[in-house]
């Protein structure tokens, strides 16, 4: 055992030393408008992956406009002035007309009980007409079609609490096409088919949260754990907010948050960095510099007492337990990663070993070291699904016992070493995928100011001691900073005996 661990150390160290080797393949540059690029050469196959990381997410949504970051992400696939229109001049006019009619409708609606029903109906009909007229100018979904037809794979985007990401891979001869289209969608997007897309977003909300007992539970958990900080609301936003989005809301969001200095782009694969730089200047330099967006001001007030949330559901229950923890730039961050490895890494994690294997309490159980995001103080999350015939209460007691154990008994050296070894090996395995690398490079650059932290972070984890684990557990895993959420059966189930 000792021998193999030493051998592994050598391999990992070799890769650590190879950071300079890795660095040789990386080219970084920042455009005058502040847009930062990281280019990684990997010429194994004629393919290339692109990852755009926008340092804005649902934490930047405003009141009454929750989920708007997500709505803009959808609109970023609707085309631009040069892509997706049959006649951009007439289309813009028709789009402006929709907004004008909608404004009148809103004005009337705001009169509340005094609103004129007949006028409302007229305006509704007018709005419908205006939308139909605008639709006649749309070359529907051309933007996405171009990407797909040109061989894009893994084409998607995601909106999280902290960030919005756009990613895809192309055959490497489509490099310029990517530059052209990505620059165009952030520089000159056209908000066509907005209200139809609003319905689609509403449908997504229905699928992910309203028709999913587990999604509903997570939403309720966050709403209880956070009272002031925007982590309290899921990136999907509230249904009522979604139903009332206006084009102006999404526009404003883009103008504020999609400034070049707030974007980071990584390109990994079969790419010539000189060519990437030339194309970056050609397509992205025209984006006006703009002011950096305002930071999130609200700091979550200190939690002073356990919070419990119940969701009534006929579905099989789930249990979530979250403890408040600091943001991912905090010195204790690597300790949480180690704790996560101890509790839920693979088949040796204590949660799996105790709850799933030994006591057969849980169908599945795991943890997450940062939830729902990491940029601001967040939660260390433990979750479990009870086995048939087991209760949430039993699970909660059992999980509580494991957490207490972390506080009372120093973790043994074998376990600590295992967790660290797995982190190192995990890094090596990550290096095989263009898409994964592009994503990691942007993440570390934005959140830690430097992509090299991807390697250095492993060293930070190496320094974590058993005493650190115990101290962090004792400091953060306390009842008064805890939120517990779980499903309960509808009343007739209590009837059981």
């Amino acid at each position: 055992m000792r021998k193999s661990a030493a051998a592994l150390w050598f391999v990992a160290a070799a890769w650590g030393q190879n950071l300079p080797e890795f660095e040789k393949k990386v080219t970084e540059f920042t455009l005058a408008n502040g847009l930062h690029f990281i280019v990684l050469e990997r010429h194994e196959a004629p393919v290339v992956s692109f990852h755009t990381y926008v340092d804005a997410g649902s934490v930047d949504d405003s009141n009454g406009r929750t989920g708007i970051a997500h709505m803009f992400e959808h609109m970023a696939f609707k085309g631009t002035e040069t892509i997706g229109s049959k006649n951009i001049v007439l289309e813009k006019k028709a789009l402006a007309n929709i907004e004008a009619v909608y404004d009148q409708l809103e004005q009337e609606r705001r009169k509340g009980t005094g609103a004129d029903e007949k006028r409302m109906a007229e305006l509704q009909a007018k709005l419908k007409d205006a939308i139909s007229t605008a639709n006649t100018y749309v070359d529907s979904e051309l933007y996405t079609r171009i990407m797909e037809d040109n061989g894009a794979v893994g084409l998607n985007a995601s909106t999280g609490v902290d960030q919005t990401q756009y990613f895809l891979s192309y055959p490497s001869n489509r490099l310029e096409l990517w530059f052209l289209m990505e620059a165009d969608r952030f520089r000159a997007p056209v908000f066509r088919e907005f209200y139809k897309e609003r319905d689609v977003v509403r449908e997504e909300k229905r699928m992910r949260s309203e028709s999913s007992p587990q999604g509903e539970l997570v939403d309720a958990m966050l709403a209880a754990a956070f009272q002031g900080h925007p982590y309290k609301t899921s990136p999907a936003g509230f249904a009522s907010d979604i139903e009332n989005y206006r084009v102006e809301d999404a526009k404003k969001f883009r103008e504020t948050y999609y400034v070049p200095g707030n974007l980071t782009i990584a390109i990994a694969g079969d790419v010539d960095p000189k060519e990437a730089r030339r194309l970056a200047e050609k397509y992205f330099a025209p984006m006006p510099k703009g002011e950096l967006p305002p930071p999130v001001i609200t700091v979550e007030p200190k939690q002073n007492g356990e919070r419990r949330v119940e969701i009534v559901s006929a579905a099989q229950p789930m249990l979530l337990i979250g403890y408040k923890r600091p943001q991912n730039t905090h010195p204790d961050d690597p300790v949480f990663d180690v704790i996560d490895g101890i509790l839920s890494g693979g088949r040796t994690g204590t949660i799996y070993k105790e709850l799933v294997e030994k006591r057969k309490l849980a169908l599945a159980a795991a943890s997450a070291s940062s939830f729902p995001g990491g940029k601001y103080p967040n939660l260390y999350l433990v979750y479990a699904l009870p086995n048939a015939g087991k209760t949430v209460k039993e699970l909660e007691l059992a999980l509580g016992g494991l957490i207490e154990n972390l506080k009372n008994v120093p973790v043994d050296e074998t376990t600590l070493k295992r967790v660290k070894t797995k982190v190192r090996a995990g890094l090596i395995r990550q290096l095989a995928s263009n898409g994964g690398l592009a994503s990691q490079l942007t993440f570390y650059h934005v959140n830690y100011g430097n992509w090299r932290v991807m390697f250095q972070g492993v060293e930070d984890i190496e320094k974590v001691t058993a005493a650190d684990v115990q101290r962090v557990a004792q400091t953060y895993f306390v009842d008064k900073a805890k939120t517990v959420a779980y499903h309960v059966k509808p009343p007739e189930e209590h009837h059981q005996h």
């Binding site: 661990a5 540059f29 005058a32 979904e141 509403r202 070894t421 263009n434 009343p491």
Partner: protein
């Protein structure tokens, strides 16, 4: 860095050139991907090996593909293959326990995993180069010498059963599962599914036999990829595997798919959702069909993209009905797959969405794709073709799959060439030949009360889907005359202890009140319970709970329940629970000897088993005093069957009878409630009218 120069360039660029149009871009030719050579050979024991060296990262990984699958599950033990696949790894191997394997592997950041799917078993490993020898040894043990430890067999069965209890939670899962079952037929291995009873029927010996039958060298293909020297590894593999020479007769072919179309709407009602998940389609074909390339192009035009396909455009883009919508030809290697249109829409749009889909499919079959649609569908396939080669390990996996299913080595290139040749007329021809909308099976999982437009508007027969999860058949012990008479004697002893067998048998009615402390759910709760009982088994229960009063009545066949929010006739699991409560009543059980339908059987020291139809319970009785000590049985819960244990305290006198003053109820090994008897009255002249009166 030379920021000044960049700044100048940027300003210049901004001032001079408007960005070109995407239409004018010219793409340089794509260089051909490197297609690596795979080395193939056979070990002395007949195991076939495929090696591909790649030295980019210091990692070695591989997998063994074994010709078996859950299609070989015995009918009464559905789930056996899956459990065998899981326990091969978790149950330990080669003299090491599962936990020892876990530690040894994870200490060196390596893994060995195993699973058995529909048409193959796969055992895989991954290790850093330095540990690859050590891990290969463990990998071989898991394949050739799994121990199938009993406790891990139990664990896997528990997990499977929990999964069964959760299978109706997600409407998408329901729709997908029922669709498969309808299309392939639920009496066939392609359509059936594991139930509590089929999992309960599985014992360790079954796993041992299943493994022995299918895991032998000649039935295995081994693929290894990564940072190794091919010649050295070849020797090493011979060392590790060569001495394993198990033999079995060749494995038969997979069963044939023989299913008739099941046209119509099949509705799974799920009242806690506001969205309908739908699966629409019929059986399709295999990858070897000569029309497969044209069918792929066809499915792509029809529903390949949620945005740009015919269905995506009609359902998502033009009408905003759905977030998820798509169509897939779904061909398989070895047997016909399913042509599927899948999506979800809010409840009230269900009927319009389904109608639109049907109209779009009809329109699609009648017409030809436009030149642009055809080009787009072909471009998508051809321009993404290079991603079949973006990682060398894909070439290895593909080659092994082709060998496994008997496909030509260059199948992927044949496919590419065929796609290049597909014309609009081909698409139209295959659409007409293969799509049969009149045979479509429409599976909808959602809340019909909110549909708005009723399903009848679709003018299709509607069949409800029963989502009830069948309870397992309880185990009943064997009996003979001796054990039955011994059982009756012990039961009589208990009846005597409770007030006298004759008195108990003649009892007409009684009324008891308990105070109950419950610790279920996620807190404790106090309740008062009154139970009225009339011979032979009519009961009324009144429960005062913190959230209100719950009253239930059961007369041996049916009854009702009244909750704070309203009342309802007993049905489903609640009916089952009342039936069970009537049966498990201790006084009622003491009368069992005089009830002809019941069998009382002595099954062990101080333990009798009482059965009545499908109901079973075990009573533990003090053989000296006749006092009841424990009752153990399986009860119905919303999440599946629960193991219940009632532990009785000492008997206490109440109005001429003797009952346990305290009882503790355990569920699944954990304390659920404690009941203290407050009062009991016997033969008070209760009437059925009194019991059945709604409060």
């Amino acid at each position: 860095m030379k920021p000044l120069l960049f700044l100048a360039t940027a300003v210049l660029a901004a001032q001079t050139a408007a960005p070109p149009s995407w239409k004018t871009l010219k793409y340089p030719p794509l260089r051909d991907p490197h297609i690596p050579e795979v080395t193939q050979f056979t070990l002395s024991n007949g195991m076939r090996v495929f090696l591909l060296e790649n030295h980019e990262l210091p990692v070695v990984s591989g997998f063994a593909l074994v010709r078996t699958g859950n299609l070989f599950d015995p009918k009464e033990k559905i789930g056996l293959a899956g459990i065998t696949g899981a326990v091969m790894r978790t149950g330990g191997a080669g003299g090491k326990t599962g936990d020892q394997l876990n530690e040894q592997l994870e200490n060196i950041a390596a893994s060995v995993e195993s699973n058995i799917g529909e048409t193959s078993a796969r055992v895989s490993f991954s290790a850093l180069k330095e540990n690859s020898d050590e891990v290969l040894g463990l990998f071989k043990s898991v394949i050739a010498a799994p121990s199938f430890a009993e406790d891990k067999v139990d664990l896997a069965k528990t997990q499977e059963k929990s999964g069964i209890g959760r299978r109706n939670d997600d409407p998408g899962d329901i729709a997908s599962r029922e669709f498969n079952e309808l299309l392939y037929g639920k009496t066939t291995p392609y359509g059936w599914r594991a139930e509590y009873a089929t999992i309960d029927a599985i014992v360790r010996e079954d796993l041992v036999e299943f493994h022995k039958r299918y895991f032998f060298p000649k039935n295995i293909m081994l693929a290894v990829y990564g940072d190794f020297d091919g010649a050295a590894l070849r020797l090493r593999l011979e060392q590790v595997f060569g001495s394993w020479t198990a033999e079995q007769p060749p494995v038969p072919d997979f069963p044939k798919v023989e299913a008739e179309p099941r046209p119509g709407v099949f509705l799974a009602t799920k009242d806690d959702v506001n969205q309908t998940s739908f699966y629409i389609g019929h059986l399709g074909g295999t990858l070897l069909d000569k029309d497969y390339p044209a069918l792929e192009v066809m499915a792509s035009v029809l529903g390949g993209s949620p945005f740009t396909s015919r269905l995506g455009s009609a359902i998502r883009v033009q009408r905003g009905y759905a977030y998820q919508i798509g169509a897939d030809w779904g061909a398989n290697y070895s047997h016909p797959g399913t042509f599927t249109i899948v999506g979800g829409t809010k409840s009230e749009n269900t009927v319009p969405a389904v109608k639109t889909i049907r109209e779009e499919v009809d329109k699609f079959i009648q017409g030809q794709p436009s030149a642009a649609e055809l080009q787009s569908a072909k471009d998508k396939i051809l321009n993404t073709f290079v991603f079949n080669f973006d990682n060398p390990s894909k070439t290895l996996s593909r080659l092994v799959s082709y060998e496994y299913f008997g496909y030509p080595k260059d199948f992927i290139f044949q496919y590419k060439t065929a796609v290049e040749k597909v014309s609009a007329a081909d698409v139209q021809r295959v659409a007409r030949q293969y799509l049969k909308p009149q045979n479509f099976t429409y599976v909808l999982a959602g809340k019909p009360a909110d549909f708005g437009t009723p399903l009848t508007a679709l003018s299709l027969p509607v069949t409800p889907i029963d989502l009830t999860i069948p309870e397992p058949k309880a185990d009943v012990s064997a009996a003979d005359e001796g054990s039955i008479s011994q059982g009756k004697q012990l039961l009589q002893k208990m009846a005597d202890a409770m007030g006298g067998a004759a008195k108990v048998a003649a009892l007409k009615d009684y009324k008891v009140a308990y105070s109950v402390d419950m610790s279920g759910g996620s807190g404790t709760m106090k309740a008062k319970q009154t139970q009225l009982w009339m011979a032979p088994g009519t009961i009324r229960q009144e429960n005062d709970l913190p959230f209100g009063k719950v009253v239930a009545y059961y007369d041996g066949a049916g009854g009702w329940i009244k909750l704070p929010q309203g009342d309802a006739p007993l049905s489903g699991p609640v009916l089952k629970q009342m039936q069970e409560q009537s049966f498990h009543d201790l006084v009622g059980l003491a009368r069992s000897a005089s009830i002809p339908a019941r069998r009382v059987n002595y099954v062990g020291p101080g333990v009798i088993e009482i059965t009545d139809g499908g109901l079973v319970t075990r009573l533990e009785i003090d053989e000296e005093t006749g006092a009841p000590k424990r009752q153990m049985y399986q009860a119905t819960g919303m999440g599946g069957p629960q193991q219940v244990e009632e532990i009785y305290g000492p008997l206490q006198e109440f109005g001429g009878f003797r009952l346990p003053a305290k009882s503790t109820v355990m569920q699944g090994g954990q304390k659920f409630a404690e009941a203290t008897l407050a009062s009991a009255e016997f033969d008070t002249g209760l009437t059925r009218a009194q019991l059945s009166a709604k409060p």
